[in-house]
């Protein structure tokens, strides 16, 4: 999953740079990709008010468009887009008159959730993970999906940090091998 986020960032950033230079095709592609990333991002944070997500996505796309000149070309695109999405979410809660804390997360959640949120992917993921022994499985889930740091996940599952690192690495190898039977 880590590699996909990196690829996604590179792809979005190149679209952003072309958009800043005035390329409407790239800009359309970027806004569509952001729509795909923002929809699950907002839905997940508006539990019980999912209907507002569509409005927030539109609001956010307009902000990305109107404020594109504030993007610094030397910095990651995802960090910029995440800061805008988080701001729009906070502003939304404020408008509703609710004091609501929006924790500052890794900017990559904007991209990561896009892949995990999808129901089909989620079901596949559960199936794939089920080949691991329970303890290893929980560890992998905590680190790779739950967003825990390696140290936290190790403590939760009764590993030392070193052992957890080795275990996650081996588990990932096993998982990759299990979903790519045709290769090698």
């Amino acid at each position: 999953m880590g590699c996909c986020v990196v690829d996604k960032e590179a792809e979005l950033k190149s679209l952003m740079l072309r958009g800043l230079d005035g390329d409407p095709v790239a800009w359309r592609a970027l806004l569509s990709a952001m729509r795909g990333a923002l929809t699950p991002f907002f839905k997940r944070r508006l539990i019980g008010h999912e209907a507002d997500a569509e409005d927030l996505v539109q609001d956010c796309l307009i902000a990305i468009h109107a404020k594109r000149a504030t993007y610094d070309r030397s910095l990651p695109f995802t960090a910029w887009a995440y800061a805008i999405a988080r701001y729009k979410l906070i502003d939304h809660f404020r408008r509703l008159g609710r004091r609501h804390d929006v924790p500052l997360e890794e900017a990559s959640v904007l991209l990561a959730e896009h892949t995990v949120e999808d129901g089909v992917v989620r079901r596949d993921l559960t199936k794939v993970l089920s080949i691991l022994p329970l303890r290893q499985r929980r560890l992998v889930e905590d680190v790779r999906i739950g967003g825990f740091s390696l140290a936290e996940a190790a403590a939760r599952n009764g590993f030392t940090e070193g052992a957890a690192k080795v275990s996650v690495h081996r588990s990932m190898k096993t998982l990759v091998a299990s979903v790519k039977p045709d290769e090698d």
Partner: protein
Amino acid sequence: MKTEDLIDALAAGLEPARPARPNAALLAGAGLAAVTAVALLLGVRPDLTQALQAPTPWLKGLYTAALTTSAIWLATRLGRPGVDARPAALALISVVAVAALWGAVEMSLTPPDARMAGWLGQTWTICGRNIVLVSAFAAPLVFLSTRRLAPTRPTAAGLALGVATGGIAATAYGLLHCGEATAAFVATWYTLGVAAAGLIGAVIGRFTLRW
């Protein structure tokens, strides 16, 4: 409007975008507004030409100009989503720290019985109030100058813009009107005036800098 249509509409009207910066013309206008406010409301000191030949007013101006510059840098960084604003905040704090240190050293070299007089000067009771008064005239232009930016923390950005406004006002006030000459006076009363402008700016920013 359907999101699909919105995306089409936005992409159709796309134009190349240059990096957003604070508008320099509006900032220059804010400086002009501050000079005008000092001249009309407080009056220019009668010995101006003579006074400006000494280094003291320029040193005061250097401090308040440094405050202004670092505050505008801070507002600019706060106005770019995802950018770390801490280096600019550190620069602003450092400027104040240098002035405070200078004032403290100066006071330690002053004979004890002259310290209070040097620190309070003739105008300590009105200095901060005058800076805030002049700031009121420069503030609209300073706040407008960053309209293209996108501060994700409006209160913090308002604070930075308020400090920038106070810095501009204090520069005009220090050069054209105020005759106080000790570093301790400037480091205390000018700083308090600029800080007050910053706090007012934070409140204004909270409501006006949303986008």
